[in-house]
């Protein structure tokens, strides 16, 4: 289920998440983890062993889990509410809206195994609607880190951010894209590769595929810019506008339905302020078939080769 990449260089971002969370919890006794029986899948065994009182497992009860998180925040705690993303965001969406977003509570929502990480388990276990659902809510930044370094940086950022947020993490192995000293900035895109012919915008597990696509394009004489856009809300409108101006075409790639996610968010900026041709790659509004996560990404046109091909097709639409 890992990326099309040398296995030895792939890392599960959950490991960076829990290592960072444990370090933060060591320094701040108010940090707690809340989960729904997902101690293992959220990789919270180490946290539980180090801070047994601060691992709050409410059982298989996601609505309750998010409400409990909001109550803990009211009582001065800094809760990281961790669960498989489809159940966290789908089952408890109204709690996220009322108890976290509308009530402006300091709850860190951590969607584990998001996207199609549970590829073989079927569409009930896919979380390819969560950008759209959470992005529609005020007060909850939506963040999808691309590698273990950005994951750790985002978890650290969340601890000092006063307010709610949604961290969308995967369990798929991904290679490092960022230097170890990378600092996460909310609402800021990262230039992974510069180029002038076309821009590829991606996040999460798609970011390194976008970089690989740009490498393929370079071998064909196409200069592609690659932006990592972990922050889906708020968006870095300036980076999108610069990309539109400099490259004249934007391709988005996401492990999400193309309705309401990263591509839609980018398109909103593009139509409002810098109209250029766009192509949105993602899951085309269907429930995905059975398959390993990386296979599904390939099937939906997001292999590095297919991304590169979509980029060249898109470039033909440039004025």
């Amino acid at each position: 289920m890992n990326a099309p990449f040398d296995a030895a260089q792939l890392h599960d971002c959950r490991d960076a998440f829990v290592a960072t969370l444990e370090a933060l919890a060591e320094a701040n006794k108010h940090i707690v983890a809340v989960c729904n029986d997902s101690v293992g899948s959220s990789k919270l065994v180490g946290f539980r062993d180090r801070f047994p009182d601060r691992l709050i497992n409410v059982g298989i009860a996601e609505q309750n889990m998010v409400g409990v998180g909001a109550g803990l925040a009211n009582g001065g705690k800094v809760p990281y509410v961790c669960a498989a993303s489809p159940f966290l965001t789908g089952r408890a969406l109204e709690q996220i809206k009322a108890d976290v977003a509308y009530s402006r509570t300091n709850v860190k929502l951590v969607g584990i195994s998001s996207g199609m990480a549970y590829g073989e388990l079927g569409a009930t276990h896919h979380s390819i609607e969560d950008f759209a659902w959470i992005r529609a809510l005020p007060n909850v930044p939506v963040i999808a880190p691309a590698d273990r370094v950005e994951t750790a940086a985002a978890v650290t950022w969340a601890a000092q951010h006063v307010g709610g947020c949604f961290l969308r993490l995967s369990r798929m192995g991904v290679p490092d894209l960022f230097p170890a000293d990378h600092v996460f900035e909310l609402g800021k895109a990262n230039l992974l590769r510069d180029g002038g012919d076309v821009t590829i915008i991606a996040n999460g597990v798609l970011a390194h595929r976008a970089v690989m696509a740009a490498t393929l394009l370079a071998s064909q004489g196409v200069s592609a810019r690659v932006l990592n856009m972990a922050s889906v809300r708020p968006m870095d409108a300036q980076a999108i506008q610069s990309a539109a101006r400099d490259t004249g075409a934007i391709l988005t790639c996401e492990e999400h339905t193309i309705f309401g996610g990263l591509g839609s968010a980018v398109a909103e900026v593009v139509v409002d302020s810098c109209p250029v041709p766009m192509t949105r790659l993602g899951v085309p509004g269907v429930f995905a078939h059975t398959g390993a996560a990386n296979q599904l990404l390939d099937d939906f046109g997001m292999s590095p080769e297919a991304i590169a091909s979509s980029a060249t097709t898109l470039m033909k639409r440039k004025a």
């Binding site: 009182d53 309750n64 803990l72 709690q95 009322a98």
Partner: protein, 273 residues
């Protein structure tokens, strides 16, 4: 504060509530009459809260989970000094912070935004757990409607509260036997509540929810069982205190006309004497 004094305050709050619903042309008058004695006894007798420091970390927390009766809470908060009394006249008005459901961001004294039912108890469990983690003595109270207990999220929280041994948490069920469109019995009968909560491991009290002495006794630290969350089943009447509204499902969110308003105010004034 004596039961007689609490009755006087509750009567004053009822009159202000009826007036505000009449003037706003909307509200949930039946459920407000039902819950006002509970709110009055909590805020004027039991809760440790300070309008000068509404976010004091050591304060007691109260969540009105039946958020549609926000007006009753707003009036209690105004009587306590959290918001100006004259602001009640803005209820439901354009850009008023006093909308139909309480908002903690704008209204001091409100702990969490409620409105959709079944949200308050899980949040209350989190509050009580936070106090336990810090070994603090402040307490958490959650008031739900009885129809609201049909929401499954409440039962998730009921399990968790017992599992976490939250004896610093009190759930008060405003048991007026009526929901929006019909009686509980004709919709989804949950009563009797007491054996259900007891079966989930809670300490349970049953009281007359309009008797200040009984309410004060039940919400005090004097009643309860160590390591068990406490549930108070408060037997109440929807529309309590106004003859033609009492126990009448039609008054869930009906607005009195002029004659009804005058009669209601006359009855409440008479009761105050």
């Amino acid at each position: 504060m004596t039961p007689a004094e609490l009755r006087r305050i509750a009567n004053r709050i009822r009159r202000r509530d009826v007036q505000a619903v009449f003037e706003a042309g909307a509200g949930h008058i039946g459920g407000e009459m039902s819950v006002i004695d509970l709110l009055t006894c909590l805020y004027f007798h039991e809760l440790s809260v300070d309008p000068a420091d509404p976010l004091d970390p050591e304060r007691d927390r109260l969540i009105l989970s039946k958020g549609h009766t926000a007006l009753a809470l707003y009036i209690v908060l105004s009587e306590k000094g959290f918001i100006p009394k004259q602001e009640i006249s803005t209820f439901l008005g354009h850009r008023s912070r006093l909308n139909g459901h309480p908002n903690r961001v704008y209204v001091p004294g409100v702990e969490t935004n409620t409105g959709p039912l079944g949200h308050g108890l899980p949040v209350g469990v989190g509050m009580a757990k936070a106090a336990k983690l810090d070994r603090r003595s402040w307490r958490t109270f959650v008031i739900t409607g009885d129809g609201e207990m049909q929401e499954g999220s409440n039962w998730e929280a009921i399990m968790t509260a017992a599992q976490f041994r939250l004896d610093n948490l009190t759930l008060i069920i405003d048991h007026n036997r009526l929901q929006q469109g019909a009686s509980l019995a004709d919709t989804n009968e949950l009563a009797p509540f007491a054996p259900k909560l007891a079966a989930f491991g809670w300490h349970v009290e049953e009281i007359d929810g309009h008797d200040p002495a009984g309410i004060c006794r039940a919400v005090s630290r004097a009643t309860g069982t160590p390591d068990k969350p406490k549930c108070i089943v408060a037997h109440t009447n929807k529309g309590h205190g106004i003859s033609f509204m009492s126990d009448n499902v039609a008054w869930h969110h009906k607005v009195p006309n002029v004659e009804q308003y005058e009669q209601a105010m006359a009855e409440l004034a008479e009761a105050a004497e």
